[in-house]
Symmetry: C2
Subunit: 433 residues, 2 copies
């Protein structure tokens, strides 16, 4: 057989029926939680001006996204997340009561090297709160993320939270000033909970940090545990005048407590969310139900981004998670149901003379809200039954000329291979059992 | 105020909450019908190889779509419809029982000149049947389209159907051979039902057709009416050996009759669906509830397309409609409900000391499946009530220190401005009324 000429581009994929049914189910469960928390669903444009995308992450983002010139020479890019679009959407709106709580579940594109199970087009859920600088907003973002997991019955997970302000103030005490070194230091701090200490030390050395500074940084970046005890420890160490980050984190955990969501939360100072625009509380959730598959959701505060897109003062915080990774977690935990899209019944004509009647009966069944397939290929009874079997359609209605004269059909349970004679008008009731 | 720096690209738009809620509702109603007919929902990749897109419509499509080179020099394009992707998906699959009935509701992109209400990114629903050459499949596609409209309660519409094979055989009798002239003739035939005859004649003259041929073409392209009478008339005119198109059309209407769907159907020989790949029965539906807004759904048979993408013999037919246009029709007919995404209740703390309790109560209400908002800005009672009003939240729960001591709150009907004292544990029940 010749190779197909027209294939899918590298890193792309089609979503087949079984997976699609699961995705629709997952999206609906997420939207339930969005709704309960008062987040309104939106969909920002998938194509943004390149400058809008670059504003969030700098021009280096060009290497990681799909961008191109349109026919009039404008630089455009496919969105790489939903935060940018939602921030741009609200940044120039002065008519909306604040806080603005919006969410989206949509696709996005990144020009990463494709890996097993990772594609260049993927989906995220994302909920953002614009217009509150209170830590209560960060806490609500985290509570929403946790309730999304719990709405699926996912219980073995852990949330790790920290504060960029707190980390920045601790870093300031080491005397590092160079923005480039600070940035590389933060990237390394993010690895403290993931790789062995010796490798962390090597990495800090490569950055050029002195040993005493390395020790200082590793000391605080390794702090993690129950919020109350870590907060108490930090409170002893941090001078009064430098406590904004700590105070915010205290209030964050306090509100999270009121939300009944602290049981699975850890304060972990190595959580910094590498990307440059986070500037307050940050957090990540991990599925603990097996081998680590990376953060199942994450987010934090980015008070400066909206100012960039327009509106003067619109503090913001949010939470997002990958749909594909969530589905992996749910699959692993046995929480993703099989949801076959097959119709309930195949309407089968035994002879050509009753074929028209098959369409009538299929339509009658459909009008009663039951899904029905009907032969579109003028096949024999045998072939039609084989098709119903192959499609895993659970029931067949078999129309023979003799039965039709009496106003009956044979209702066949395809699995049990049992047939019962049924009046046509009783089919819907029989199938609804 | 300075102009915003970061705006949306021309022809793009964001979907705001009210519209998004309507879209979700519309999509679900369409999926209900897909399901009843046994169509399985899929999502083909939004990015295709440019050659896949060109295969359907020729290289001229480049001018009308978004295409670009990826970082390794491959030509890619954003899909301009869902048919291409679904055809490519199945064209190389030998494992699927046929017919394959799949559907999708997704976004696509075209580089058209933006007009009022028309954007460069828009959505379609699309259902395709692969693997049946029978007219019954075309009839099922039309019946599905009609049931989609009727599932919304849309009743004033009309379906116009024809056959490209029939039109081609009638055209053959005029003696036109040049493919280019044939193509331009077909494009003009499509306008016969839309613009005055004199303009049609002028257009045919510009193509270079002789007057007798023009008369011949206009004569048959103007044939329209109840299927039975037009079929009888055609049957008298068309010689026996040239009747495949006519026979298919007869069977198409016969099956449509069995589906109880002929009442709103007209046979109209001017319907040809310009685009080159249609090669059998074609159809279009029009909303008759007001000023013409163009076809509300359309489709037809394209037996050759899958052969192009791979599999030798996979006849295909399908139906698609624009979501935006459908929503315009539904809006006009008053069939698109307002579906505000606002939460049911705002939980409001009167003083700082009860603020934590507000989070607890909000969470308690949410845990009962009721959507609740809670203040994230440490606002005064007055400001919180103003926010609830601005957001059109129908109820407020007002927490005062005195009431809380008794385990009660004030439940306020925001519209009636009525307050009743309610026990906390009775809130969910009160709000579910």
């Amino acid at each position: 057989m010749a190779e197909p000429t027209y294939t899918m581009p590298r890193g792309m994929k089609d979503i087949e029926p079984d997976e699609m049914a699961k995705r629709i189910w997952v999206n609906n469960k997420i939207m339930e939680v969005f709704k309960k928390y008062g987040f309104q669903i939106v969909e920002p444009t998938p194509i943004e001006s390149l400058e809008t995308l670059e504003a969030k992450c700098g021009p280096a983002i060009r290497d990681e996204i799909y961008w191109f010139k349109d026919k009039s020479g404008r630089n455009l890019g496919l969105r790489f997340d939903l935060t940018v679009g939602m921030a741009r959407m609200v940044a120039n709106r002065y008519d909306l009561p604040i806080p603005i709580k919006i969410g989206a579940i949509s696709g996005m594109w990144r020009y990463d090297e494709p890996q097993f199970g990772r594609y260049r087009h993927f989906y995220q859920w994302d909920a953002e709160i614009f217009g509150s600088e209170e830590s209560a907003a960060d806490a609500e973002a985290v509570a929403l993320g946790m309730d999304i997991l719990e709405n699926f019955g996912l219980k073995e997970y852990e949330v790790r939270a920290s504060s960029r302000k707190l980390v920045d103030s601790l870093l300031a005490r080491t005397g590092i000033i160079s923005p480039e070194i600070l940035e590389r230091t933060i990237v390394t701090i993010d690895k403290v909970r993931k790789i062995p200490e010796q490798e962390i030390i090597e990495e800090f050395k490569r950055i050029g940090l002195a040993e005493d500074k390395i020790k200082q940084i590793i000391d605080f970046a390794s702090m993690k545990g129950k919020p109350d005890s870590i907060l108490a420890e930090l409170s002893r160490k941090i001078p009064e005048e430098n406590r904004q980050g700590l105070d915010e984190l205290s209030e964050f955990f306090e509100v999270l407590g009121a939300f009944k969501k602290t049981g699975k939360c850890i304060l972990d100072l190595s959580v910094v969310r590498g990307i440059g625009y986070y500037d307050g509380i940050v957090f990540e959730a991990y599925d603990k139900g097996g081998e680590d598959i990376g953060a199942i959701f994450g987010g934090g505060r980015y008070d400066k981004l909206c100012r960039l897109y327009g509106k003067q003062d619109l503090p913001a915080t949010g939470v997002a998670g990958g749909i594909e990774r969530l589905m992996m977690s749910l699959e692993r935990a046995g929480l993703l149901p099989e949801l076959p899209q097959t119709p309930k019944v195949a309407v089968i004509a035994v002879t050509d003379e009753v074929r028209k009647k098959a369409f009538e009966i299929a339509q009658y069944i459909r009008s009663k809200g039951i899904s029905a397939d009907v032969d579109l290929r003028k096949r024999s009874l045998k072939k039609q039954l084989e098709y119903a079997d192959a499609m895993k359609i659970p029931y067949a209605i078999i129309l023979g000329p003799e039965e039709l004269k009496k106003g009956t059909v044979k209702l066949r349970d395809m699995k049990k291979r049992l047939e019962t004679e049924t009046k046509i008008e009783e089919i819907p009731q029989q199938l609804s059992k």
